[in-house]
Amino acid sequence: MGWDHEDSLREEVKDHLIEAVEDVEKMPPPELETLFEDVYAELTPQLKKQKQALIAERELRGKFENTSEAFPL
């Protein structure tokens, strides 16, 4: 039957996933420009405007503090 094959496939995929997560977690945070990528195929005028504004704000502020709370479970 196919069950043995399924088990080893699961293990292989799981290892792949763990490796991918570890790789990404080692990378530095993405640039803020990436916030605007892939909303649409092409940036709309509004998004271009918002992107300029955020870049200008970054010039002014230097950095953005991480103000996130823990998931409130």
Partner: protein, 321 residues
Amino acid sequence: MTIVQAVRDALYNEMKRNDSVVLLGEDVGLNGGVFRATEGLQKEFGEARVMDTPLAESGIIGAAMGMAVNGLRPVPEIQFLDFIYPAFDQIVSEVAKIRYRSGGTFTCPMVIRSPAGGGIRGGHYHSQSSEAYFTHTPGLKVVYPSNPYDTKGLLISAIRDEDPVIFLEPKKLYRAVKGEVPEGEYTVEIGKANVVREGKDVTILCWGAMVPEALKAADLCTPRGADCEVVDLRTLVPLDEPTILESVRKTGKVVIVHEAPRTCGFGAELSALIAEEAVEYLEAPIVRVAGLDTPFPYTLEHVYMPDAERIALAVGKVKNF
């Protein structure tokens, strides 16, 4: 008490007071709610009044509507506002319109409670603050408190209200904010904003998790030369126009803050209202500090969400116009 404790306290009080008040939702019964908002309530009031539902939002709201139309006072929970869209047809086509289309023969008193907003690394589908879809739907009331005292009082008012209420709870503040909450029952009136900080230079209009940020911004602005008035709207529909306009007429300068995306966010409605009713008092353009017109991000959430410094920069912009 925290906001989530205030929710639980309101539910407990109303369920004790009125046998028709029932709860339903995913994990609300046995589990007590993923945020513990309904902890112990099934044990206290029984499975017939605190019901665990399947993972099926349109079923949750549809069933709740059936209960409401037949004389119960259901308080269904949508576990994260991001999950509400399968129930959108039930809410917009049915719940919001039943009184109108039946000429008052049938009504639908219910409160749809849902944690909303970002700031807890929830990513695209656990962070949305999509109040604008509901403020745009006649027949619904939309309430969005920012602190424990208002949360309990408004939730009690919402449960007693004869109309369907969308009750949004700022999950970022669920445990982060504590406040004095009286024991027993009390109400906070739906449809009334609250001036949480008086000031003479700039009006900041905000709600939910943006209220503490606006207050922090006001503190940043004082040494920079701007005395800010912070108005916590508390209810979005029906809007407290007199309180908002009185503040705008006093200061002549407005900054509106919301975490939802800018385009067609509720700030747009407020801007139009102010322009229609108080343009002669304005000394500067109305400025909105809002989320980007993108899906809510994960890693760069703290860049996306309006924070005290960004609000303070906007205040500076209108003050120096």
